[in-house]
Symmetry: C2
Subunit: 293 residues, 2 copies
């Protein structure tokens, strides 16, 4: 198989795996007939690139973890991501009616149910880690830090505050380090910690994940300008419409593309000391930086 | 000192303790100048009866726990409670403008910030337990279960679904067991587990806490009819105004009062096998059942 085909097969296998892990986590929660449970399933299953889960599995493979030991971490980061999208799409926030190619959760289920579904997805994320076989308390600490006031939530608040204004590149990166980067770093760290990784490996992975997190956002901003709603599965051009500062408004398209290339190179450089066992993570860097949707 | 005065002194001491524990937890989170951090502090500090924290401390004392070992549990349940109030007061939910005697969080900070503050408070709750000295993973599992799709969130969804209709006593109790009861049971269990409690003690405490949780709600419903906004610190009469089924609409005031007395007796009966070391918990049962605000 060609290397990129071989990676696509591997990634698709992990996407199927996380889908089934998330199915089980959601099924354990409640009766299928319940509206709240239906909203949680709707918001979580059947969509998304699963970048965070895939990073967790790849970091777990690097650390010789049993994939079953990575499942709770992979599910937890995807559940946090799913809840953040549900809340982010609410009218009080980004007011977005399309997500993953279908009506947003609050459009399908109403605002109150969407709000509660997000809340319950967050609790379910921590429940996954509580039952993780390796160092569950440390994992909870990492996820709580990444998703709370010093992580994702702070980034979303900064995003709100910046809407309608402009940001320097430094300010923009600082916002995205929190909003997207923190959870991507947590996904990688949690995956690696499900196996055996020494401190220098964890540090290298963190540098890698920080670069990947920013690259992901730069590419998102470029696609928001160049993509269509159909290929993206979410509303195209919405950042510009809402007056949000992006890498494209801050740097222009060409410099943004160059910046993504630099971040991709940083990610590869961070992996260099880890040798061949970092191959999947290197492939993910290319996937994230070169993706078209 | 008269017993009830002595209890009031003890309870006030624990209220001050949890206030300071919550202050530290929130300070560790972020710079004081940050709007999101300010909204989290506003929603959490300086108010509330702290019933959940007090239950955790009392259960901890019964189990000979070091109060410092109970602090994370007490903080975690109060943070979950605070987040649930912030989200519950949002226009998409109960749309309530007054909470703990002051403007609700979204009135003071805007809806988007209130939504994020609630989200970040939930993450902060789990962060407390991650650093708990005794069995942190088990504690996380208990709190996640109590606050998620099989606990508080499910109760809030049932509450939404019931608004405008009527419920049988069985349906009403089933809703409140989830909405209020699950977190009150978790508070008691987490406090006891910070010390040494055998399975039969934990089972007795759980029966006690389940009765207390319902008694709390019955009294809430009576006070909602009979109290004023000034004494309650939240909008009086709001349940009736919103067409919510309550113990008063389901049973009438007199039978509701009788029901509260029965639940109080059930709580005392559950404590009987535990002897004198359950004194604080017995006093809490009286406090909850006989309170005027």
């Amino acid at each position: 198989m060609k290397p990129d085909v071989e990676f696509a097969v591997w990634a698709s296998d992990r996407q199927q795996r996380i889908e089934s892990v998330l199915e089980s986590a959601l099924d354990a929660g409640a009766a299928a007939t319940d509206t709240l449970a239906a909203a949680m399933r709707y918001a979580t299953l059947g969509g998304g690139k699963r970048v965070r889960a895939i990073l967790a599995y790849a970091a777990g493979e690097l650390a010789a973890a049993n994939p079953m030991d990575v499942d709770p971490a992979a599910a937890a980061v995807e559940l946090i991501h799913a809840y953040s999208l549900v809340h982010d799409d609410l009218p009080a926030m980004d007011d977005d009616a399309v997500r993953r190619g279908k009506p947003s959760c609050h459009v399908a289920f109403g605002e109150a149910t969407a709000l509660l579904a997000g809340d319950a997805l967050q609790a379910l994320a921590f429940a996954q880690l509580a039952h993780a076989p390796v160092a569950p308390a440390k994992a909870v600490a990492i996820l709580a830090e990444a998703s709370g006031i010093r992580g994702m939530a702070a980034g979303q608040a900064a995003d709100l505050a910046a809407t309608g204004g402009s940001l320097s590149l430094v300010e923009l990166e600082s916002m995205h380090r929190l909003k997207t980067g923190a959870l991507i770093r947590a996904a990688t760290a949690l995956g690696a910690r499900a196996g055996r990784a020494d401190e220098s490996t964890l540090a290298a992975l963190d540098t890698y994940a920080a670069a990947i997190g920013l690259a992901f956002q730069v590419v998102d901003d470029i696609l928001d300008v160049e993509g269509s709603t159909a290929t993206l599965g979410k509303t195209a051009g919405k950042d510009a419409a809402r007056g949000k500062p992006t890498y494209v408004t801050t740097l222009g398209v060409d410099a943004a593309r160059e910046h993504a290339a630099v971040l991709r190179a940083q990610a590869h450089a961070a992996l260099a000391p880890l040798g061949a066992r970092a191959r999947r993570l290197a492939e993910i860097a290319d996937w994230v930086a070169l993706r078209r949707n």
